[in-house]
Protein backbone atom coordinates (compact mmCIF):
# COMPACT_ATOMS: atom_id res chain seq x y z
CA UNK A 1 0.00 0.00 0.00
CA UNK A 2 1.44 3.41 -0.96
CA UNK A 3 1.42 5.98 1.76
CA UNK A 4 -1.72 8.11 1.81
CA UNK A 5 -1.20 11.63 0.50
CA UNK A 6 -2.01 14.35 3.00
CA UNK A 7 -4.98 16.56 2.10
CA UNK A 8 -5.94 19.92 3.60
CA UNK A 9 -9.05 21.94 4.22
CA UNK A 10 -8.77 25.13 2.21
CA UNK A 11 -11.11 28.06 2.67
CA UNK A 12 -11.95 29.99 -0.46
CA UNK A 13 -13.63 33.36 -0.22
CA UNK A 14 -15.23 34.08 -3.57
CA UNK A 15 -16.69 37.35 -4.77
CA UNK A 16 -20.17 36.46 -5.99
CA UNK A 17 -22.54 38.45 -8.13
CA UNK A 18 -25.82 37.34 -9.62
CA UNK A 19 -27.26 40.16 -11.74
CA UNK A 20 -30.78 38.77 -11.38
CA UNK A 21 -30.93 39.10 -7.59
CA UNK A 22 -27.94 41.13 -6.34
CA UNK A 23 -27.51 44.88 -6.45
CA UNK A 24 -23.88 44.60 -5.38
CA UNK A 25 -21.31 41.79 -5.40
CA UNK A 26 -20.70 40.08 -2.04
CA UNK A 27 -18.18 37.58 -0.64
CA UNK A 28 -19.13 33.90 0.02
CA UNK A 29 -16.83 31.42 1.74
CA UNK A 30 -16.45 27.69 1.03
CA UNK A 31 -14.37 24.97 2.70
CA UNK A 32 -12.94 22.34 0.36
CA UNK A 33 -10.66 19.34 0.91
CA UNK A 34 -7.65 19.71 -1.38
CA UNK A 35 -4.32 18.07 -2.19
CA UNK A 36 -1.24 20.29 -2.49
CA UNK A 37 -0.98 19.36 -6.16
CA UNK A 38 -4.55 20.47 -6.86
CA UNK A 39 -5.15 23.81 -8.50
CA UNK A 40 -7.50 26.66 -7.67
CA UNK A 41 -9.55 25.51 -10.68
CA UNK A 42 -10.04 22.11 -8.97
CA UNK A 43 -11.28 23.87 -5.87
CA UNK A 44 -13.77 25.86 -7.95
CA UNK A 45 -14.93 22.63 -9.63
CA UNK A 46 -15.40 20.94 -6.24
CA UNK A 47 -17.47 23.87 -5.04
CA UNK A 48 -19.58 23.95 -8.19
CA UNK A 49 -20.08 20.18 -8.35
CA UNK A 50 -20.51 19.39 -4.65
CA UNK A 51 -21.61 22.53 -2.81
CA UNK A 52 -23.12 25.29 -4.93
CA UNK A 53 -24.00 24.63 -8.56
CA UNK A 54 -24.74 28.30 -9.16
CA UNK A 55 -21.09 29.32 -8.94
CA UNK A 56 -20.16 30.67 -12.38
CA UNK A 57 -16.75 30.86 -13.97
CA UNK A 58 -15.17 30.28 -17.37
CA UNK A 59 -12.79 27.47 -18.16
CA UNK A 60 -12.19 25.34 -21.16
CA UNK A 61 -8.83 23.59 -21.56
CA UNK A 62 -7.94 23.47 -17.84
CA UNK A 63 -4.27 23.41 -18.90
CA UNK A 64 -3.18 26.99 -19.39
CA UNK A 65 -3.77 27.16 -23.13
CA UNK A 66 -7.20 28.61 -23.85
CA UNK A 67 -6.96 31.72 -21.66
CA UNK A 68 -10.49 31.41 -20.25
CA UNK A 69 -9.91 31.39 -16.52
CA UNK A 70 -7.89 34.47 -15.64
CA UNK A 71 -9.05 35.68 -12.23
CA UNK A 72 -7.78 37.63 -9.27
CA UNK A 73 -6.41 35.16 -6.73
CA UNK A 74 -5.27 36.74 -3.46
CA UNK A 75 -5.15 40.08 -5.26
CA UNK A 76 -3.02 38.91 -8.19
CA UNK A 77 -4.18 38.06 -11.68
CA UNK A 78 -3.60 34.36 -12.30
CA UNK A 79 -5.00 31.47 -14.33
CA UNK A 80 -6.99 29.29 -11.90
CA UNK A 81 -5.78 26.22 -13.84
CA UNK A 82 -2.10 27.11 -13.33
CA UNK A 83 -2.24 28.13 -9.66
CA UNK A 84 -1.34 25.23 -7.39
CA UNK A 85 -2.76 25.02 -3.88
CA UNK A 86 0.74 24.35 -2.52
CA UNK A 87 1.94 27.70 -3.83
CA UNK A 88 -0.69 29.57 -1.80
CA UNK A 89 -0.67 30.24 1.94
CA UNK A 90 -3.55 27.97 2.95
CA UNK A 91 -3.30 28.87 6.63
CA UNK A 92 -5.32 31.88 5.49
CA UNK A 93 -8.41 31.94 3.26
CA UNK A 94 -7.80 32.23 -0.46
CA UNK A 95 -9.59 35.19 -2.02
CA UNK A 96 -10.90 34.68 -5.55
CA UNK A 97 -12.63 37.35 -7.62
CA UNK A 98 -13.20 38.36 -11.23
CA UNK A 99 -10.51 40.34 -13.06
CA UNK A 100 -10.89 44.11 -12.69
CA UNK A 101 -11.63 46.86 -15.16
CA UNK A 102 -14.03 44.92 -17.40
CA UNK A 103 -17.81 44.90 -16.85
CA UNK A 104 -18.76 42.21 -14.33
CA UNK A 105 -21.41 39.83 -15.67
CA UNK A 106 -21.72 37.09 -13.07
CA UNK A 107 -19.49 35.77 -10.26
CA UNK A 108 -16.06 35.29 -11.90
CA UNK A 109 -17.22 36.13 -15.43
CA UNK A 110 -16.61 39.52 -17.04
CA UNK A 111 -17.57 40.94 -20.42
CA UNK A 112 -14.37 40.48 -22.47
CA UNK A 113 -15.65 42.48 -25.44
CA UNK A 114 -13.81 45.77 -24.66
CA UNK A 115 -10.62 43.69 -24.37
CA UNK A 116 -11.12 41.91 -27.72
CA UNK A 117 -12.16 45.18 -29.35
CA UNK A 118 -8.73 46.67 -28.52
CA UNK A 119 -7.08 43.46 -29.72
CA UNK A 120 -8.86 43.62 -33.08
CA UNK A 121 -8.02 47.31 -33.47
CA UNK A 122 -4.29 46.61 -33.89
CA UNK A 123 -4.88 44.29 -36.87
CA UNK A 124 -3.57 41.07 -35.30
CA UNK A 125 -3.12 39.18 -38.56
CA UNK A 126 -0.38 38.91 -41.17
CA UNK A 127 -0.54 41.59 -43.84
CA UNK A 128 1.84 40.78 -46.68
CA UNK A 129 1.75 42.87 -49.83
CA UNK A 130 3.68 40.55 -52.14
CA UNK A 131 3.83 36.90 -53.10
CA UNK A 132 6.47 34.72 -51.42
CA UNK A 133 9.65 34.44 -53.50
CA UNK A 134 9.39 30.77 -54.41
CA UNK A 135 5.62 30.94 -54.54
CA UNK A 136 5.29 28.72 -51.49
CA UNK A 137 6.82 29.99 -48.28
CA UNK A 138 7.95 33.19 -46.64
CA UNK A 139 11.35 32.14 -45.38
CA UNK A 140 12.63 33.61 -42.13
CA UNK A 141 16.03 33.30 -40.49
CA UNK A 142 16.27 31.97 -36.95
CA UNK A 143 17.13 35.47 -35.75
CA UNK A 144 14.15 37.01 -37.55
CA UNK A 145 11.82 34.47 -35.91
CA UNK A 146 13.46 35.00 -32.54
CA UNK A 147 12.80 38.76 -32.74
CA UNK A 148 9.09 38.39 -31.93
CA UNK A 149 9.07 34.91 -30.36
CA UNK A 150 8.11 36.11 -26.88
CA UNK A 151 4.93 37.85 -28.01
CA UNK A 152 3.70 34.84 -30.02
CA UNK A 153 2.97 33.11 -26.72
CA UNK A 154 -0.06 35.22 -25.79
CA UNK A 155 -3.28 33.30 -25.08
CA UNK A 156 -5.48 36.42 -24.75
CA UNK A 157 -6.43 35.71 -21.15
CA UNK A 158 -6.58 39.46 -20.27
CA UNK A 159 -4.60 38.94 -17.06
CA UNK A 160 -2.22 41.72 -18.11
CA UNK A 161 -4.70 44.31 -19.33
CA UNK A 162 -6.97 43.81 -16.31
CA UNK A 163 -4.00 44.22 -13.93
CA UNK A 164 -3.01 47.57 -15.42
CA UNK A 165 -3.91 50.60 -13.24
CA UNK A 166 -4.04 52.85 -16.30
CA UNK A 167 -6.64 50.52 -17.86
CA UNK A 168 -8.61 50.53 -14.60
CA UNK A 169 -9.02 54.31 -14.63
CA UNK A 170 -11.27 54.69 -17.67
CA UNK A 171 -10.91 51.54 -19.79
CA UNK A 172 -10.00 53.54 -22.91
CA UNK A 173 -6.27 52.64 -22.97
CA UNK A 174 -5.51 49.94 -25.57
CA UNK A 175 -3.87 47.92 -22.81
CA UNK A 176 -0.83 45.62 -22.70
CA UNK A 177 -2.40 42.64 -24.50
CA UNK A 178 -3.27 44.68 -27.61
CA UNK A 179 0.28 46.09 -27.68
CA UNK A 180 1.78 42.61 -27.21
CA UNK A 181 -0.22 41.34 -30.17
CA UNK A 182 0.74 44.37 -32.26
CA UNK A 183 4.39 43.68 -31.33
CA UNK A 184 3.91 40.11 -32.57
CA UNK A 185 3.36 41.45 -36.11
CA UNK A 186 5.31 44.74 -36.03
CA UNK A 187 8.56 42.80 -35.57
CA UNK A 188 7.67 39.93 -37.91
CA UNK A 189 9.87 40.23 -41.02
CA UNK A 190 7.10 38.71 -43.17
CA UNK A 191 4.62 41.44 -42.27
CA UNK A 192 4.27 44.68 -44.26
CA UNK A 193 1.89 46.62 -42.02
CA UNK A 194 4.14 47.70 -39.14
CA UNK A 195 3.73 51.39 -40.01
CA UNK A 196 -0.07 51.15 -39.78
CA UNK A 197 0.03 49.36 -36.41
CA UNK A 198 2.58 51.82 -35.03
CA UNK A 199 0.35 54.67 -36.17
CA UNK A 200 -2.69 53.16 -34.42
CA UNK A 201 -0.78 52.83 -31.14
CA UNK A 202 1.03 56.18 -31.46
CA UNK A 203 -2.04 57.94 -30.11
CA UNK A 204 -3.74 59.29 -27.01
CA UNK A 205 -4.93 55.87 -25.82
CA UNK A 206 -1.88 54.04 -27.16
CA UNK A 207 1.59 53.22 -25.84
CA UNK A 208 2.22 56.66 -24.32
CA UNK A 209 -0.32 55.94 -21.58
CA UNK A 210 1.89 53.11 -20.32
CA UNK A 211 3.58 54.15 -17.04
CA UNK A 212 5.93 51.17 -16.81
CA UNK A 213 4.17 49.78 -13.74
CA UNK A 214 5.17 46.17 -14.62
CA UNK A 215 1.85 44.77 -13.29
CA UNK A 216 1.29 43.21 -16.72
CA UNK A 217 4.63 41.40 -16.76
CA UNK A 218 3.97 40.11 -13.25
CA UNK A 219 0.50 38.89 -14.21
CA UNK A 220 1.21 37.15 -17.53
CA UNK A 221 0.77 33.37 -17.12
CA UNK A 222 2.89 32.76 -20.22
CA UNK A 223 5.83 34.66 -18.77
CA UNK A 224 5.83 37.17 -21.62
CA UNK A 225 8.02 40.21 -20.93
CA UNK A 226 5.03 42.47 -21.53
CA UNK A 227 6.53 45.75 -20.32
CA UNK A 228 9.60 45.16 -22.46
CA UNK A 229 7.44 44.50 -25.52
CA UNK A 230 5.60 47.79 -24.90
CA UNK A 231 8.95 49.62 -24.58
CA UNK A 232 10.14 48.10 -27.85
CA UNK A 233 7.03 49.40 -29.59
CA UNK A 234 7.68 52.87 -28.09
CA UNK A 235 11.27 52.71 -29.32
CA UNK A 236 10.12 51.72 -32.81
CA UNK A 237 7.94 54.84 -32.84
CA UNK A 238 10.74 57.12 -31.69
CA UNK A 239 13.63 55.69 -33.70
CA UNK A 240 11.86 53.88 -36.52
CA UNK A 241 12.27 50.18 -37.20
CA UNK A 242 15.73 48.82 -37.55
Amino acid sequence: MPEEIQSFTVTLIIRRYNPEVDDEPHWDDFDVQMYPTDRVLDALHKIKWEQDGSLSFRRSCAHGICGSDAMRINGRNRLACKTLIKDLDITKPVYVEAIKGLPLEKDLIVDMEPFFESFRAVQPFLVANNAPTDGKERIQTVAQRERFDDTTKCILCAACTSSCPVFWTDGQYFGPAAIVNAHRFIFDSRDDNAAVRLDILNDKEGVWRCRTTFNCTEACPRGIQVTQAISEVKQAMLRGME
Binding site: E20, P103, L104, T169, G171, I200
Partner: protein, 150 residues
Protein backbone atom coordinates in the same frame (compact mmCIF):
# COMPACT_ATOMS: atom_id res chain seq x y z
CA UNK B 1 -36.58 38.93 -12.98
CA UNK B 2 -33.83 40.35 -15.10
CA UNK B 3 -31.84 43.47 -14.45
CA UNK B 4 -29.59 45.19 -16.91
CA UNK B 5 -26.00 45.53 -15.81
CA UNK B 6 -24.69 48.96 -16.50
CA UNK B 7 -21.28 48.78 -18.16
CA UNK B 8 -19.03 50.77 -15.81
CA UNK B 9 -17.48 52.81 -18.57
CA UNK B 10 -18.11 54.58 -21.82
CA UNK B 11 -18.85 52.70 -25.08
CA UNK B 12 -16.22 50.55 -26.76
CA UNK B 13 -15.95 52.72 -29.85
CA UNK B 14 -12.71 54.59 -30.33
CA UNK B 15 -12.34 58.16 -31.47
CA UNK B 16 -10.57 58.42 -34.85
CA UNK B 17 -6.83 58.94 -34.76
CA UNK B 18 -6.17 62.61 -34.07
CA UNK B 19 -4.03 64.56 -36.54
CA UNK B 20 -1.45 67.29 -36.02
CA UNK B 21 1.21 67.48 -33.33
CA UNK B 22 1.43 64.25 -31.33
CA UNK B 23 1.23 65.79 -27.85
CA UNK B 24 1.18 62.45 -26.07
CA UNK B 25 4.44 61.38 -27.68
CA UNK B 26 6.19 64.70 -27.07
CA UNK B 27 4.80 64.82 -23.52
CA UNK B 28 6.26 61.37 -22.88
CA UNK B 29 9.66 62.41 -24.27
CA UNK B 30 9.59 65.71 -22.33
CA UNK B 31 8.95 63.92 -18.99
CA UNK B 32 12.07 61.81 -19.50
CA UNK B 33 14.38 64.50 -20.87
CA UNK B 34 13.34 67.06 -18.23
CA UNK B 35 13.55 64.34 -15.55
CA UNK B 36 17.21 63.65 -16.38
CA UNK B 37 18.09 67.37 -16.31
CA UNK B 38 16.03 67.91 -13.12
CA UNK B 39 17.97 65.22 -11.24
CA UNK B 40 21.13 67.32 -11.72
CA UNK B 41 19.43 70.68 -11.10
CA UNK B 42 17.41 69.66 -8.03
CA UNK B 43 20.12 67.69 -6.26
CA UNK B 44 22.70 70.37 -7.15
CA UNK B 45 20.32 72.97 -5.70
CA UNK B 46 19.73 70.98 -2.49
CA UNK B 47 23.45 70.24 -2.10
CA UNK B 48 24.57 73.86 -2.48
CA UNK B 49 21.78 75.28 -0.31
CA UNK B 50 21.71 72.72 2.50
CA UNK B 51 25.01 70.85 2.71
CA UNK B 52 27.95 72.98 1.52
CA UNK B 53 29.76 75.13 4.12
CA UNK B 54 27.58 76.00 7.12
CA UNK B 55 24.74 74.03 5.59
CA UNK B 56 21.14 74.92 6.26
CA UNK B 57 21.97 77.54 8.89
CA UNK B 58 23.60 79.70 6.19
CA UNK B 59 20.20 80.22 4.53
CA UNK B 60 18.88 83.76 4.87
CA UNK B 61 17.95 86.72 2.69
CA UNK B 62 21.58 87.57 2.09
CA UNK B 63 22.39 84.00 0.92
CA UNK B 64 19.52 83.92 -1.56
CA UNK B 65 20.17 87.49 -2.70
CA UNK B 66 23.81 86.59 -3.29
CA UNK B 67 22.83 83.65 -5.49
CA UNK B 68 20.24 85.64 -7.42
CA UNK B 69 22.84 88.19 -8.47
CA UNK B 70 25.18 85.52 -9.87
CA UNK B 71 24.39 84.85 -13.55
CA UNK B 72 25.27 81.14 -13.13
CA UNK B 73 22.68 80.62 -10.39
CA UNK B 74 20.13 82.81 -12.16
CA UNK B 75 20.27 80.54 -15.20
CA UNK B 76 20.24 77.44 -12.94
CA UNK B 77 17.17 78.61 -11.01
CA UNK B 78 15.21 79.78 -14.04
CA UNK B 79 15.93 76.51 -15.82
CA UNK B 80 14.80 74.55 -12.76
CA UNK B 81 11.67 76.70 -12.48
CA UNK B 82 10.59 76.19 -16.11
CA UNK B 83 11.51 72.53 -16.40
CA UNK B 84 9.98 71.48 -13.06
CA UNK B 85 6.75 73.46 -13.48
CA UNK B 86 6.10 72.21 -17.00
CA UNK B 87 7.08 68.69 -15.87
CA UNK B 88 4.79 68.85 -12.83
CA UNK B 89 1.99 70.46 -14.84
CA UNK B 90 2.18 67.82 -17.56
CA UNK B 91 2.30 65.10 -14.90
CA UNK B 92 -0.84 66.49 -13.27
CA UNK B 93 -2.49 66.66 -16.71
CA UNK B 94 -1.82 62.92 -17.06
CA UNK B 95 -3.50 62.27 -13.71
CA UNK B 96 -6.52 64.39 -14.67
CA UNK B 97 -6.82 62.43 -17.92
CA UNK B 98 -6.76 59.24 -15.84
CA UNK B 99 -9.26 60.11 -13.18
CA UNK B 100 -11.59 62.88 -14.38
CA UNK B 101 -14.19 61.26 -16.61
CA UNK B 102 -16.51 64.22 -17.24
CA UNK B 103 -15.52 66.51 -20.12
CA UNK B 104 -16.31 69.61 -18.09
CA UNK B 105 -14.37 68.47 -14.99
CA UNK B 106 -11.39 67.65 -17.19
CA UNK B 107 -11.55 71.06 -18.83
CA UNK B 108 -11.78 72.94 -15.53
CA UNK B 109 -8.97 70.97 -13.85
CA UNK B 110 -6.63 71.22 -16.83
CA UNK B 111 -7.29 74.96 -17.19
CA UNK B 112 -6.52 75.40 -13.49
CA UNK B 113 -3.24 73.49 -13.89
CA UNK B 114 -2.30 75.54 -16.95
CA UNK B 115 -3.13 78.80 -15.15
CA UNK B 116 -1.05 77.79 -12.11
CA UNK B 117 1.93 76.81 -14.28
CA UNK B 118 1.82 80.00 -16.38
CA UNK B 119 1.37 82.34 -13.38
CA UNK B 120 4.17 80.68 -11.38
CA UNK B 121 6.57 80.65 -14.34
CA UNK B 122 5.91 84.33 -15.13
CA UNK B 123 6.20 85.43 -11.49
CA UNK B 124 9.26 83.28 -10.82
CA UNK B 125 11.08 84.44 -13.94
CA UNK B 126 10.21 88.05 -13.12
CA UNK B 127 11.63 87.67 -9.60
CA UNK B 128 14.89 86.13 -10.77
CA UNK B 129 15.57 88.81 -13.40
CA UNK B 130 14.27 91.91 -11.58
CA UNK B 131 15.49 91.00 -8.12
CA UNK B 132 16.91 93.86 -6.01
CA UNK B 133 19.46 92.37 -3.60
CA UNK B 134 19.93 95.66 -1.72
CA UNK B 135 16.46 97.10 -1.01
CA UNK B 136 16.81 100.68 0.27
CA UNK B 137 16.34 101.31 3.98
CA UNK B 138 16.98 97.72 5.15
CA UNK B 139 19.33 96.97 8.06
CA UNK B 140 22.79 96.23 6.65
CA UNK B 141 23.29 93.02 8.67
CA UNK B 142 20.44 91.35 6.78
CA UNK B 143 21.79 92.25 3.34
CA UNK B 144 24.53 90.58 1.32
CA UNK B 145 27.99 91.96 2.06
CA UNK B 146 28.44 93.56 -1.36
CA UNK B 147 25.54 95.99 -0.71
CA UNK B 148 27.72 98.19 1.52
CA UNK B 149 30.11 98.67 -1.40
CA UNK B 150 27.46 100.45 -3.45
Amino acid sequence: MTSTIEAPRSPYSRAPRSRGVNWEKWGWIYMRVSGVVLVVLIFGHLFVNLMVGEGVSALNFAFVAGKLTTPFWMVWDVLMLWLALIHGGNGMRTLVNDYATQRLTRGILKSAILAAVVILIVLGTLVVFTFDPCPAGSPADLLPSFCSAI
